[in-house]
Each structure stands twice: as structure tokens, then as C-alpha cells.
Amino acid sequence: MRILNSVYLVLLLVLTIFSYGFVDPNFPVSPPPFLHQLVYTYRPVATGIYVGIMTALFALFALVVKRTMAGHIQAPEIWRLVFITTAFLFVSFPAFSYDVFNYIATARVLFTYGENPYVVMPVELSHEPMLAFMHASNKTALYGISWIVLSSIPHAVSFGSIVAAVYAFKGFVAFFYLGLCYLIWLLSKKNPVSLVLFALHPLVVIETLVSSHQDVVMMFFALLSFYLIKKHLPILAGFSLLISIGIKFATVALLPVFGYVLYLSLREKKIPWETVWIGSTVAMTLMVIVSPLREEVYAWYLIWPLTFTALLPSRTTLHYVYAASGYGLLLRFAPFILTRNWFGTTPMIKYVVTAAPLALVSLWRLIYRK
């Protein structure tokens, strides 16, 4: 376990340092030149490092899951790993996605400039310093009202500094990540396998603690609504689900499951939680599948079903499939690191790297089962 811990810590350290190579040249803080050179000039090497980190993280994850299932790793050890991961990656740069800058810009449009972010785009505020490096300045707010209200907290903490805002938003998302882990821990009746399946899943770790996507905030309130039903607090539960829907709208798919659980709860009938988690997994997976209708499948969307698959620890095949999907989705960023281009051959490579791990694992499971 000590060797495992050491390798994991080294990986987190490499990931944190590597992430600073992706800092935009116009960002107020510059990373050491060699990192910038590595990512922008020695792109095949950078791609190799990225794929290597992802592969190593998944290999370690598989090992930790296996050892936890065998009872070799106990809950306190997992919690320790969760806190270490959070602390390490809190200082990393949101390298693989620029969404956190959209969150900051939206909050600034509302709270700094007093403009409606659903009406005014950041690009219309010509003197906004974030325009020098943000990537979606020509879009009005993409997220729901709950998120905009919640984002006032990290915005207030940053005191107008963009660099401080990055870490304030990272801290805010990390706080909800820990909260979500705790909810999974409680709802799984303190099952360490459930905890490890979500909290240390490389996709969750990368997309939440490095890229700071707010999907965990949405999922926290969604899962909290089920927890509140369990505690016989239906009004608060409904309110919590409304907040969740108001963050990114995706959890609207949980309404039928929530309605079913609420109905059983009000009738004081026994709630088949296993069925509820399966239903929720199906609902959120469907949302991931239909997401290309809007834009494309982004890696962080997988956090939606992963929240519920973690609550089904005995469904081994399910975890293989979701781990393979997570690996494939994370690899979608690799062709961009190599080409610095989202067009040309990149879309084709993205399709291949997304589908290949899933196809291979499915095939392997089929053969293995026979």
C-alpha cells in the first residue's frame, strides 16, 4: 500500500506541474517557460505525458478498487487518499478545459458590471481583462440561475482578482466534490467500495479537481434530494432537486425517478434503493447519450451517471464499462494536445479513442464471462 500511495502521489504531483504548461500566454500569471514550451512546442511529448498520466491513473484506480473489494483497503485509508487528491489538485491549473473561466466571466458580468449575463456577453465589456485569454467570450450565460446565484460565493471570495477567482472556483467545486463523496458514503451505508468507485475515479478527479467543472455541484444537490427523502424531508428534497436542475438542467431526467421515490415515501412504503440507483443511472446515461444533439459528449458529463453507478458496487460489469468510457472520454483531449486543433483529423481520432476502450472492454467481458 505504501508503494501504491507513493506512485499515486508522484502521479498527482506530475499532473499538477504538467497542468501549468497549459496556461494561456495572455493569462496574468506565467508558468516556467519550459512547461509552456513542452505543451506548445514538444506536442508529441506532451501528448505522451497526458496519455501516460491518464493510463497510470486508471491502472492505479483499478488496483485500488480491486484491493478495496478484497477488503485490503479500509475506509479511513480511502478518505485519506480523497483528501490528499483534493489538496494536491486544488493547486493545479484548469488545464484541460476553459469552462472555469466561463463561470468566472459570467459571475463578473453580473456581480462586477451589474449586467444580466443572459443578455450581455463578456465580449461586450471591452475593458474586461479576461477577454485576453478566455475562449467563449461571445456567449451569454450557459448555465441555470442556481449556478449563477451559487457562483456569487467564490466570486465574493476572489475580491475582483482573476487569479484568486480561479482558485476560489476550484475550492468551491472541490468543496462540493467532498460533499458528494460524503453523500455517496452515507447512502451506500458507508461502503468503502462505493466511495472509491466515485471519489477516486480518474475522470471524476480530473474533471472536478483539475478542470473544476460544476457537474459535481449539480450532482451533489441531486443526490442530496434522495438523501432528504430518505430522511423524510420531502419539501427540502424537492427544493434540492430544483436547485440541481437550475444548475445545468441535466438532472431534469431524474424527475420520474424522484417522483417514484417521493410517491413511495409519502405512502410510507419501502423504497427499493437498488432499483432507484439503476433508474437514476439509466436516466443520467440517457442524458449523456443525447448530449451530442446539443454539442458533443464532453468527458465531464460522465460524472452524472457515475454518481449513481458508485451506489451499485456489486455490478462489476457496469464499473468496467463506465471505467472504459471514462478512459476513452479523457483521451478525447489527447489529439488536441498533439495538433492544437479541433478540426482536421482531430474529430476522427476523438471518435476512435472514445469508442476503442469501451469496445475492447466489452469484448473482453464477453469472452471472460464465457
Binding site: 458590471y113 449586467e115 444580466n116 471591452s126 475593458h127
Partner: protein, 174 residues
């Protein structure tokens, strides 16, 4: 031979490089007119829109949009001889244009943009001016308007249009 070549080149230039559909500023299509069942609900939506479009930039854009819409409404009503309603729409357009101008001044004072909104409003004022000029040539200077059971009243069409024109020219002097 040389002349025909010149003509041919000119024609080619016109077709290749001069866009026949140049539209620097596009006015909206006429929306619901007074008397339509959806006219009042749309006015209510507009009132809510004022609340939704908070902030100086939001308000400037909002009033500019309404100013355009009422200008188109006024033009359509004038063309159909509905002078009383047309004047009402023209006054609404003037009021919204003035409000947009005031909000743009605040945007400038707070250094929120580099004058993009002001440039946009100038374009709008030019377009409005074009419409007003066309109406001035089309309409009588005065009209007697007689509503049922009411005293007839004189509508100073030319005077009101000139007033609107002066207000639009104010955007250029800013």
C-alpha cells in the same frame, strides 16, 4: 473594342465585388399592430423585458430594440393612414431612442465598452433618419384626425417627424 472591354470589366467588377444587398443596419419586421389581440400581451412582455434587461448595456440594447420596433410600427401605420396610432408609436420610438442614448452615456462613463454601442446607435439613427425622410416625402404636413364622438384634432405630422429627426441627429453629435 477598348470601350466594350472597359464596359465588360466594369460589369464584372460590379457583380463580383459590389454586393447588391448591402445592409449595414437591419430594422425588424413589423410586429403585431395596435388592435391585434396579441398587441397588449406583447406590451406586457416588453415591460417584463425592461426588468430582465438590467444594467446599462442591457438597457441600452433593450431600448434601442424597442425604438427600432416602434419606428417600424409607426412607418407601417403612417403608410396605412392610421396617423393617430402612428404618432403614438413614433413618440414611443423617440422615447426609447432617448433612453438608449442616456444608457449609452452611462456605459461610456463607466468605461464598460470601447464605443461599440454608440457606433451601433449611430447606425440605428441613420436608418431611422432614412425612414423619416421617406415618410416626410410621402405624407401630408398636417392631418385632421376625427375620432368617433370626439373633437377633431390636427396632427402636425411633418413637425413630429422633424422632431424625431432632430433627436436622431443628436446621436451623431455625441
Amino acid at each position: 473594342m477598348r470601350v466594350s472591354r472597359c464596359v465588360l470589366l466594369t460589369v464584372c467588377y460590379v457583380f463580383l465585388f459590389v454586393s447588391p444587398a448591402h445592409a449595414s443596419y437591419v430594422m425588424p419586421y413589423p410586429s403585431y399592430m395596435p388592435g391585434h389581440v396579441l398587441y397588449t400581451p406583447r406590451t406586457i412582455v416588453d415591460r417584463i423585458g425592461e426588468w430582465w434587461n438590467f444594467g446599462e448595456i442591457g438597457r441600452a440594447k433593450y431600448h434601442n430594440r424597442l425604438s427600432d420596433r416602434y419606428m417600424v410600427e409607426a412607418k407601417t401605420l403612417f403608410e396605412y393612414g392610421q396617423y393617430k396610432l402612428a404618432v403614438s408609436a413614433l413618440k414611443k420610438s423617440d422615447l426609447n431612442f432617448a433612453q438608449s442614448l442616456l444608457y449609452i452615456r452611462e456605459v461610456e462613463q463607466r468605461h464598460k465598452d470601447n464605443g461599440e454601442l454608440k457606433a451601433h446607435l449611430k447606425e440605428a439613427s441613420k436608418k431611422h433618419d432614412e425612414i423619416i425622410i421617406s415618410l416626410l416625402s410621402l405624407l401630408p404636413k398636417k392631418a385632421i384626425w376625427e375620432e368617433e364622438y370626439e373633437e377633431p384634432e390636427t396632427i402636425e405630422i411633418a413637425f413630429l417627424l422633424r422632431q424625431s429627426q432632430i433627436m436622431r441627429s443628436y446621436a451623431d453629435t455625441q
